[in-house]
Symmetry: C2
Subunit: 337 residues, 2 copies
């Protein structure tokens, strides 16, 4: 049945033999700062090259209990920003010698299963870039000691055993609020994503607080069950239909671009309104589509690459951090507000 196991099953022993050294020397040759003479290393590398040897990472992981593998747990694939994050993360990780196991959280209750999958491959860390990881799930996961490190990427978490690498949502949203107030909009409407139990309502809270503080009134808020342009589209229609002009918002501040795109589509194609003349819109993330001439969204860009680089230092353990890492991004002013 299995006729594999032909060539390519070259082991360190084979190389050792070919190079006339011991297996352990072969090993050292492949380890960046091992104590090995330059000469030995070269002999080994030549033999390895000739035989087509590459270390078996499975065996290495088993023997060493570190795998140089991280799991990326994702749940909301409808948000286009996920594609950007996945690209950046895998790029930076791979450049630094880490491989990525992509785990699709199939549904709301799949978090434990997803984490289990990851742990069975002995990943060194699990990186969460989904939305459905509330603190209950995290505690359960950590309680079960499923993974060594749990890192929440691009989202806050209050869980003390978890490290989050994210943008300073409060600062970012305050900046957006100030910008919007600076343009003198009067009737704000905040469009939020899923209202889970964890701490990621920061954006909404920050906006609302800032507006209250400066204008003495509480902005209207609506939420959708997932970061999906289609859901945002429907939500806006549901919520704003049959509204008198003077009760219609003049600016819709969205928790992210996925929602902003849906909102803009609804505004233009359902309500037949112009943006920003009739209603302005702001987003968050600066997804690729935000720059396209149809949208030209005024949004906020997270420094994903820098965040990914921080992640790498966290993984390598250089930084014995347990504190959450906060970054500052920058507003990108375009035409939608």
């Amino acid at each position: 049945m299995s006729d594999r196991k032909d060539a390519n099953e070259v082991t360190a022993d084979d190389v050792a033999q070919a190079a006339g050294v011991s297996r352990w020397t072969v090993n050292r040759a492949f380890k960046p700062n091992a104590s090995i003479s330059a000469k030995s290393r070269q002999t080994v590398m030549e033999a390895a090259e000739k035989l087509g040897y590459a270390p078996n990472l499975l065996a290495a992981s088993l023997a060493s209990d570190r795998s140089n593998l991280v799991a990326l747990l994702v749940d909301d694939f409808s948000n286009p920003h996920k594609l950007v994050m996945m690209e950046r993360l895998t790029r930076v990780l791979r450049k630094n010698g880490w491989d990525t196991l992509l785990v699709n959280m199939l549904d709301k209750d799949d978090a434990p299963g997803a984490l289990l999958s990851a742990s069975q491959r002995r990943v060194d860390a699990a990186i969460l870039i989904g939305v459905q990881f509330d603190d209950d799930v995290l505690s359960a996961a950590l309680g079960a000691r499923r993974v060594k490190k749990l890192i929440i990427f691009a989202r806050n978490s209050e869980n003390p055993d978890t490290i989050s690498i994210s943008v300073d949502d409060h600062a970012a949203m305050t900046e957006i609020a100030d910008y919007v107030m600076g343009r003198d909009y009067q009737r704000p409407f905040f469009l939020a994503g899923p209202q889970t139990k964890s701490a990621h309502l920061t954006r909404q809270e920050a906006f609302v607080a800032r507006w209250q503080e400066h204008r003495g009134m509480t902005p209207e808020v609506a939420d959708v069950p997932s970061y999906d342009p289609g859901m945002a589209y429907s939500a806006i229609i549901d919520r704003l239909s049959e509204r008198q002009p003077d009760a219609f918002p003049d600016v819709i501040v969205c928790e992210n671009d996925a929602l902003a795109i849906g909102a803009m589509d609804a505004l233009r194609h359902h309500f037949n309104l112009r943006i920003p003349e009739d209603v302005a819109v702001t987003g968050f993330d600066d997804v690729p589509a935000a720059a396209n001439p149809n949208y030209r969204i005024t949004t906020y860009r997270q420094p994903i690459t820098r965040m990914a680089e921080r992640l790498v230092t966290l993984l390598s353990g250089e930084l014995e951090q347990t504190e959450n890492q906060q970054f500052l991004g920058q507003m990108v002013i375009r035409n939608s507000a």
Copy 2:
């Protein structure tokens, strides 16, 4: 230094001891159709549950030389369709017990490196969903015996040692051509993606051939270096600026939706043209944005889920296929043409 190795390091031996059986029996309990009595299995499972045991897949893979791991090699993250494919693929794979290693091909010449990464984790197969795998790369990869199976997903390949699972591009594009001709467009323009050496020019060729056959003239063709809406936007502007109205195409047939989106944006926002009144546009893939009210693209939907399911049967070896697998999708008629 390492204070891990606390709990969770439960092995089959521990469970065996707790359950009063041998390690091998524990193992059998976790294997679907192993010869083990129902009673033994239950005892084992209870003990396992209590101790929180889960098989170490690293060790299993090492010992068995099958890993139940596949690598997904991706290179063009700017195409939104990739997100859809990744979601479907990981979903179907995981449901069937396969894990996914996501490998980002960092640049044009990274294919060998990416394949090497995958092979070092001893993946059972590498699935290619990028564009830069031309037949040279594939041959090299196979020559180096890097991976056991190489599967090209959603794209054709002529390489005989490779299996491709894709839509029947010829049939699909012929259907689109017929549709376009049926609407009586006269001046077609085909917008193609990267012109690599492999066989994926089928769409372009099919369209051109069909048009020639029925109309006796060769459609104009342009190509862009990557499936990126932004590139398509620029390409359309470069190519069509300063053209007299009667030389301007009345339908732009795009190799996929990523290009169609860029083309539509250029047509509307740069040339100030209406779609489909002034110029019609067709796409391919039916990405989520194709359905949004801004675009409403007439496109072609690939049966990704069925294709992913076929992939799984291919992986499990039930099908000792070496032939390429072709699927039929369906046209989705919307407003853009």
